[in-house]
Amino acid sequence: MSRPIVTVVLVVGLAFALLALGFGAGSVHLPANRQDYEPVQPLAFSHRLHAGELNIACLHCHGAAEKSRHAGIPAASTCMNCHKLVTAPMAAVRAEDELAQKEKRQPRRIVSPELQKLYDSLGLSLNEKRELAPDPRKPLRPIPWIKVYSLPDFAYFDHRAHVRVGVACEKCHGAVETMERVRQIGDLSMGWCVNCHRTADREGINGAQVHASTDCDICHH
C-alpha cells in the first residue's frame, strides 16, 4: 500500500471522528465527563422562570435534599399545587382576555402545550366546562425527565449532609436560576469532590468548622 492512500484514509478517519464528536457537543471531554451537558427535557420546564423570576426556593420542590441521599424530582402532584390554577403563561392568558373582550364573550381557559404534558402525565383533560378533570381514558404516566447530574454507580453522594452543613446548592449546581435548561456545571470527577472536601475541612463552611472526610468509604462502598 502506498503512503498517500494511507494518509488520505487516516485524514478522512480523523475528520469523521471529529465530526462525530462535534455533533451535540461544544467541547471535547473524556468519556463519562458530562460537563456542560444540557439535554433537551421532555417538558420545557424553566428553572430561570421558577427559581429566578418567581424566586421559588430550591428546597420547595427538591425538599428530599434535606433528608435523603437524593434531592428528588418533584412529583407531578407537587407541580399541581400551583398549576391547578396556572395553566398557561401570563401573556397567553392576557391575549385570550383581550380576544374575549373583543369578541364579547367569557374568556376561555387556555392550556399551554408544555403544561398539557404535565396534565397528560396526571391523566387530566379539560372537560366540557373547560375544567381540568381526571380522564379515565388517559393512563397515568410519569414524565421521563432526562437526568443531568449523574454519578457512576460506584460513587455514592448524599445530599442531606451537604445541605445540613450549609453547602449552597449553587456550589455544585451553579446559577440554576439563570438557566432556561439545566446545564451540568462541574465535571463531577473525584478530584472535583475531593478538592472541595479538603478546602471545607481546612477552612470550614460559612465560618463554621466542619469535618469533610476524604476517606474512600465515604463515597465508595
Binding site: 471531554h29 458530562r34 437526568k147 454507580d153 476517606d215 468509604d217 462502598h221
Partner: protein, 1014 residues
C-alpha cells in the same frame, strides 16, 4: 531473504504509526456522551415518601412456620433486606439463614405468574368459575373434600379454612351490618383439614395427648433452664423453632451476666448436629437407644422422687452408667430448672421424655402447656388416613397448600399418579413443584411479602403480616381464593382486619389508656410493632397421666454391621422448601461445610470398613424385608462425632426446579457440571422415610451400603482459606497457632483471667504508629460462647453486600465469595469430638498486611480504622489476598453478577456490584456506618452506641456479635474488649486487628475435654 522482505510495502514503523493513529481515532470517537438516563418522579407522591429513603415494614417471616417477626427494609418501594424484629417476643430480633434468604425468593423469576389450568396459564375468573362449579357438584353428591397442608400459624387463615370446609354457623357480621346478608356458605358434609408437617413433630404432640389429655406442642423456655438435655433434637439447627430456641438458650448462658448464669447442656445424638456442636457435653449414642437411655434416666429420677416403679429390665445403658448417674444428679438438683427435649418420632419414647420432665417438675416452669406453641400442628395419623383414602379413590376434592407431598412423602411416586385420578385437585403452590405439576388447578399464593396475613406462633402472641409491595405477578393470597370460592370475594386485608376485630381485639391485654382502647389504635399498634399480646384460651390440660407411661421397652442390642439410615433437615434447605434459593444452596452446612449437594455421612470407622473416602459414591439400599428396593446413590463424607452404626443423609435435595442451577456458573472452557447425574442438585432422600405405626419416621434400620467405585467430589469449603500454616511452611520451632480458645467454666470461675497468651502488644513492631484514630475507631467483638454456627450472618452479609453466588464448580475451586465465613474446628475430647465454630471476616487490622502489598493503593486504611477496598483502583494482582493471614479476601475470577432483571431487584442499591478482576471483602458494612453517620449529622446529634449494626450482628439470633467504637470506653464493644475472655486470633503477628473474640466457655470441669482447637 532480503527480497522476501520487500514483499511487504509497509515498514514496521509505518504499521505502528498507522495503528497508533487508528487507536487514537477510536479513542476520540469514544469521547461521546454517556447514554441518556431518565429520572422519573412520582405522579402522586405518597404521604411520607422520600425518594431514596428507607421504609421499615413490620411483618412475619414466611420462610417456615416458626413465624419470626421481621422488618422488611424497603427502598423506593421494593424490599431489599429482611431483618429480625427486636420487639418480637419469640424471635427477639434474630432471623435464621432461610429467613434472610427469603427476600431473594420474592424475586424468583420462576415463581408462577398466574393461575394454571392443566398446566396452562388461565385467568382468575375462569379458574374461580370452574372451581365453584365443581365444588357445587361435589357438595350435591356429598363428596369428600380434603384440605392438605402444613401447619397454619395464621389465625385468619385457619379460620378461613375452617369456614370454607365446615361452612358458616352464622354470617359473621360486624355490628351495624345485616346479620343475614346473602345466603350462608354451607361448607361440605364430608370435609377435613389434614395438617401435616414434612418435618413432623407428630409424636411429641401425641405424647402430650396421652400424658396431659391435650394434643399440643408445649412452649419450651430454655432461658429458665439450668440443665438442658437434648435427645436427638437439633433445636438450634432445624427443629421446630430454632431462632426462638437460640435466643432463649442464650439467655441462660451469660457467664458475665448479673447474676452470672451458665446452663449445662448435654446432647445425646447419633449424628453430628449443630446443637450437638454447641453442647457442653455431647455423647454419640446408637440410633435405636433413645428409649433405653430415657428409661435409665427415668428410673434414676423416679428413685430420687420416691415414685414407685414396677421392676423392669432396663438392659445395658448406651452410655456409661456413671455418666447417667451424674446427669441424673444434676437434673435432680436443678429440678424445676431443667428440661429434656426429645426429637424422636416414637410416641412411646416421647411419653417417657414427658415422664422425665414431669419428674423434674419442668411442667409449668421450663415447659409451658397453658401457652402452647402453634409451630407444629401436623398429625401423621390423619395424613396416613388421607393417603389411604386417596388410594381407595374416596377423595372428591383435594386442596394442597404449603405442602409438597409428592416430593416429601415416601409414597410420593405413587401419589403422583393417584392425584391425577382425584376429580378436583387444587394446589396453592407458588412454583410448579412436584405436587403442583400434578394438580389440575394451580392457584399460586402470593409471597408473604406481597400479601396481608397474620401469625400466632405461640398462644397469645400474634402478629400482623403486612405486605411490603404489590404482588409482582397475578397471584393471590390463599384466603382471598377461598373467599372467592365461597362467593364472598374480599381482600386479604379486609379478612385479616375483620378477624382481628372479632377474635383478637376482644381478648387484648388490657390495662392501658382507656381512651386509646379502640380497635383502630390496637390494630395500628400491632401493625407498627409487628406483634400484639392477647389472652389466649388456655387448653384444658389434665394432671399428668402416670398410667400412660410404659417404661421397660428396651431396644435389643444391634450388631455392629446393622446400619441405620438417619434422614435429617439441613439448616438451609430444611425440608426442601428452600431448594430453589441459590443463597441457601451455596451456604456451607454449619457442621460439614458442604455446599450444593447432599451426601451420606459416615463415621470414620464405618467409612474405613467400607473402604471409602470423602466423595466416593456409595449405594444405600433400604426397603421392606429382603427386597431393599429403595436405593440412593450419594457421595460419602466422613463425619467425626457420628455413631459408627449410622449413615446420615439430608432431606430437601433433588427438588424439581433445581435443574436451573445447571447454568449458574461462568461459562468457560474448564467448567464442570454443576448438577448431579440426575440433572438436579442432590438426591431426594424422602423415598427412604418410613411409616412406622402411624407416624412418619426419619430413620430406617438395616440398610446396606455398597461402594460403587464412582467418585463425585463434594464442594466442601472447610479446607478453603485455611489460616493454619502448613507444617512445611511453618517457622521451625513455632507452636501451633490457637485459633479458637476455650475455657472450662470451673477454670473460668476460679480464675477469671484464663489461660492463653495475653493479646495485644508484642513489643516493637515493623510498622510506624501512624494511625492516630482521633475520632472513632470501629471494632467488633464476637462471643464464641454465644455463637452456635447457625450461619444466619453469612446469608445476611450476602443479602446486604450483594455477594454473588458462584455455583458448585467454582466453590470446589475455593472461589466462593462469602465475605463472612464460619470456620469449624474439631478437637479430640474425652467423649469423642468437640466442635467449635468461629465466624471469620476481615479483621480491619491496624497494621494490615494487605495494605502494604497493594501496588495501586486499592486497599487503604481509613481514619476510623476501616480497611477500605476501593474496587475502581483494584487491578487484581491478588497480592493482598495472599498476604492476608485470615484469608478473608475474595477475588472476582469472573463476572459473577447475572443479568436477571427480576432477581437483581434484590440487590442493595447502597453497595457497588463488583465486576470481574477485582478483590473484595468485608467492609464492616461501611454503607450502614455512613448512613447512620449522615442521619446523626442531619439530626444534629452524636452517633449512639449500638446504632450501627452490621448485617451479621443484626441477624444473629444469639446476639454473639457486637460492633461499635473502640475509642469510647463506655461502648458495648469496648467493654467486651476489656473482658478477661477477650483474645485476638493470630495476635502474635502484631497486625492489631479490630476484630476480637471472647473465649468460648464450656460448662465443664477443667481438664474435662479439649481446651484449645487449632
Amino acid at each position: 531473504m532480503c527480497d522476501d522482505h520487500k514483499k511487504y510495502d509497509w515498514s514496521r514503523r509505518e504499521f505502528l504509526e498507522a495503528s497508533g493513529f487508528g487507536l487514537f481515532l477510536a479513542a476520540l470517537a469514544g469521547c461521546g456522551r454517556a447514554p441518556v438516563q431518565n429520572a422519573f418522579g412520582y405522579i402522586q407522591q405518597p404521604e411520607g415518601a422520600v425518594p431514596g429513603g428507607t421504609d421499615w415494614i413490620a411483618t412475619v417471616c414466611g420462610a417456615c412456620p416458626a413465624g419470626c417477626g421481621v422488618l422488611a427494609k424497603n427502598r423506593d418501594g421494593r424490599p431489599i433486606k429482611l431483618e429480625g424484629n427486636p420487639q418480637h417476643p419469640l424471635s427477639q430480633g434474630g432471623l435464621c439463614a432461610a429467613g434472610q434468604a427469603a427476600v431473594l425468593g420474592l424475586y424468583d423469576s420462576q415463581r408462577l405468574q398466574s393461575p394454571l389450568i392443566a398446566g396452562k396459564p388461565a385467568a382468575w375468573d375462569r379458574v374461580d368459575n370452574e372451581i365453584r362449579a365443581r365444588l357445587k357438584d361435589i357438595r350435591a353428591r356429598g363428596g369428600a373434600v380434603r384440605f392438605l397442608g402444613e401447619t397454619v400459624i395464621g389465625p385468619t387463615k385457619r379460620a378461613m379454612i375452617r369456614r370454607f370446609l365446615e361452612g358458616e354457623t352464622s354470617r359473621p357480621g360486624i355490628e351495624g351490618q345485616a346479620a343475614d346478608e346473602g345466603a350462608h356458605w354451607k361448607g361440605f358434609s364430608d370435609a377435613r383439614h389434614v395438617i401435616y408437617d414434612s418435618l413432623s413433630a407428630s409424636a411429641l404432640l401425641d405424647a402430650h395427648r396421652l400424658t396431659h389429655g391435650v394434643r399440643l406442642l408445649p412452649q419450651y423456655r430454655l432461658g429458665e433452664a439450668d440443665v438442658i438435655v437434648g435427645l436427638d433434637a437439633d433445636f438450634m439447627g432445624a427443629w421446630i423453632s430454632p431462632v426462638a430456641f437460640t435466643a432463649d438458650y442464650r439467655r441462660g448462658r451469660e457467664p458475665e451476666g448479673q447474676p452470672p448464669r451458665m446452663s449445662y447442656h448435654v446432647q445425646f445424638e447419633s449424628r453430628m448436629s449443630l446443637t450437638g456442636a454447641c453442647a457442653d457435653r455431647r455423647l454419640a449414642i446408637p440410633p435405636e437407644c433413645l428409649g433405653t437411655l430415657l428409661n435409665h434416666l427415668a428410673v434414676r429420677l423416679a428413685e430420687k422422687a420416691s415414685v414407685p416403679l414396677e421392676k423392669i429390665d432396663l438392659g445395658r445403658p448406651p452410655v456409661p452408667a456413671a455418666d447417667l448417674d451424674r446427669l441424673a444428679d444434676r437434673l435432680w438438683q436443678a429440678r424445676g430448672r431443667s428440661v429434656v427435649l426429645c426429637g424422636s418420632q416414637d410416641v412411646k419414647i416421647q411419653v417417657s421424655a414427658n415422664f422425665v420432665n414431669h419428674l423434674l417438675d419442668a411442667y409449668g416452669a421450663t415447659i409451658l402447656l397453658d401457652r402452647p406453641s402453634h409451630v407444629k400442628q401436623g398429625d401423621d395419623r390423619r395424613l396416613s388416613a388421607l393417603v389411604r383414602e386417596i388410594r381407595e379413590g374416596k377423595v372428591a376434592a383435594l386442596f394442597i397448600a404449603g405442602a409438597n407431598p409428592v416430593y416429601e412423602l415416601p409414597e410420593g411416586g405413587e401419589l403422583k399418579s393417584l392425584l391425577r385420578r382425584i376429580p378436583l385437585t387444587v394446589s396453592f403452590g407458588s412454583h410448579l413443584d412436584e405436587t403442583a405439576a400434578m394438580a389440575r388447578y394451580v392457584c399460586p399464593e402470593s409471597h408473604f411479602l406481597e400479601s396481608w396475613g397474620d401469625a400466632e406462633p405461640a398462644a397469645g402472641v400474634a402478629s400482623v403480616a403486612q405486605p411490603a409491595l404489590r404482588p409482582l405477578g397475578d397471584t393471590r393470597p390463599l384466603i382471598e381464593s377461598l373467599a372467592a370460592w365461597m362467593d364472598r370475594p374480599q381482600s386479604a386485608y379486609e379478612l385479616v382486619r375483620r378477624h382481628w376485630e372479632e377474635s383478637i381485639f376482644p381478648r387484648r391485654a388490657k390495662g392501658k389508656d382507656e381512651k386509646a382502647d379502640t380497635f383502630e389504635a390496637f390494630w395500628e399498634d400491632a401493625a407498627a410493632r409487628g406483634c400484639a399480646e392477647f389472652e389466649a384460651e388456655a387448653p384444658a390440660v389434665k394432671e399428668f397421666a402416670r398410667e400412660a407411661v410404659q417404661l421397660g421397652e428396651t431396644a435389643p442390642e444391634q450388631p455392629i454391621d446393622n446400619l441405620t439410615l438417619l434422614l435429617y433437615p439441613t439448616v438451609a434447605l430444611q425440608d426442601g422448601r428452600h431448594a430453589l434459593n441459590p443463597w441457601l444452596q451455596e451456604l456451607p452446612d454449619p457442621v460439614s461445610k458442604v455446599t450444593w449437594d447432599n451426601y451420606a455421612s459416615l463415621s470414620r470407622a464405618t467409612a474405613a470398613g467400607l473402604g471409602v473416602e470423602d466423595g466416593d459414591v456409595i449405594r444405600i439400599a433400604c426397603g421392606e424385608g429382603e427386597e431393599k428396593n429403595v436405593v440412593l446413590e450419594l457421595p460419602a463424607l466422613i463425619q467425626p462425632g457420628q455413631h459408627d452404626r449410622v449413615v446420615a443423609v439430608a432431606l430437601g435435595y433433588g427438588r424439581r426446579g433445581t435443574e436451573r442451577f445447571a447454568k449458574l456458573a461462568p461459562d468457560w472452557i474448564e467448567a464442570r457440571p454443576l448438577v448431579g447425574p440426575n440433572g438436579l442438585v442432590g438426591t431426594n432422600a424422602a423415598p427412604c422415610l418410613a411409616w412406622e405405626g402411624e407416624t412418619l419416621r426419619y430413620r430406617r434400620n438395616g440398610v446396606t451400603l455398597t461402594k460403587t467405585g464412582e467418585k463425585r467430589p463434594l464442594a466442601c469449603t472447610q479446607q478453603h482459606h485455611e489460616i493454619a500454616v502448613p507444617p512445611r511452611l511453618a517457622t521451625p520451632g513455632a507452636g501451633r497457632r490457637p485459633m479458637i480458645e476455650e475455657v472450662a467454666l470451673s477454670a473460668y470461675r476460679a480464675h477469671p483471667q484464663p489461660g492463653g497468651e495475653p493479646t495485644g502488644e508484642h513489643g516493637a513492631g515493623l510498622w510506624p504508629d501512624d494511625h492516630p484514630y482521633a475520632g472513632k475507631r470501629w471494632g467488633m467483638v464476637i462471643d464464641l460462647a454465644r455463637c452456635t454456627g447457625c450461619s444466619a450472618c453469612v446469608v445476611a452479609c450476602q443479602a446486604e453486600n450483594n455477594v454473588p453466588v458462584v455455583g458448585r464448580d467454582e466453590v470446589r475451586r475455593s472461589r466462593e465469595m462469602h465475605w463472612l465465613r464460619i470456620d469449624r474446628y474439631y478437637s479430640e475430647a474425652a467423649d469423642g469430638v468437640d466442635t467449635a465454630h468461629q465466624p471469620m471476616l476481615c479483621h480491619h487490622c491496624e497494621n494490615a498486611p494487605c495494605e502494604n502489598v497493594c501496588p495501586v493503593l486499592a486497599t487503604v486504611h481509613s481514619e476510623e480504622g476501616l480497611n477500605q477496598q476501593v474496587y475502581n483502583r483494584c487491578v487484581g494482582t491478588r497480592y493482598c489476598a495472599n498476604n492476608c493471614p485470615y484469608k478473608v479476601r475474595r477475588f472476582n475470577w469472573f463476572r459473577y453478577a447475572r443479568d436477571d432483571r427480576r432477581e437483581n431487584l434484590a440487590l442493595n442499591p447502597d453497595v457497588t456490584v463488583r465486576s470481574r478482576g477485582v478483590m473484595e471483602k468485608c467492609s464492616f458494612c461501611a454503607q450502614r456506618i455512613q448512613e447512620a453517620r449522615l442521619e446523626a449529622k442531619r439530626l444534629d446529634r452524636e452517633l449512639r452506641d449500638g446504632e450501627i449494626q452490621p448485617a451479621c450482628q443484626q441477624s444473629c439470633p444469639a446476639q454473639a456479635i457486637a460492633f461499635g467504637d473502640l475509642n469510647d470506653p463506655k461502648s458495648r464493644v469496648a467493654r467486651l474488649a476489656a473482658s478477661s475472655r477477650y483474645y485476638q486470633v493470630l495476635s502474635e503477628l502484631n497486625i492489631r486487628p479490630a476484630v476480637g473474640y471472647l473465649r468460648r466457655v464450656r460448662n465443664r470441669d477443667a481438664g474435662e475435654g479439649g481446651m484449645q482447637h487449632g
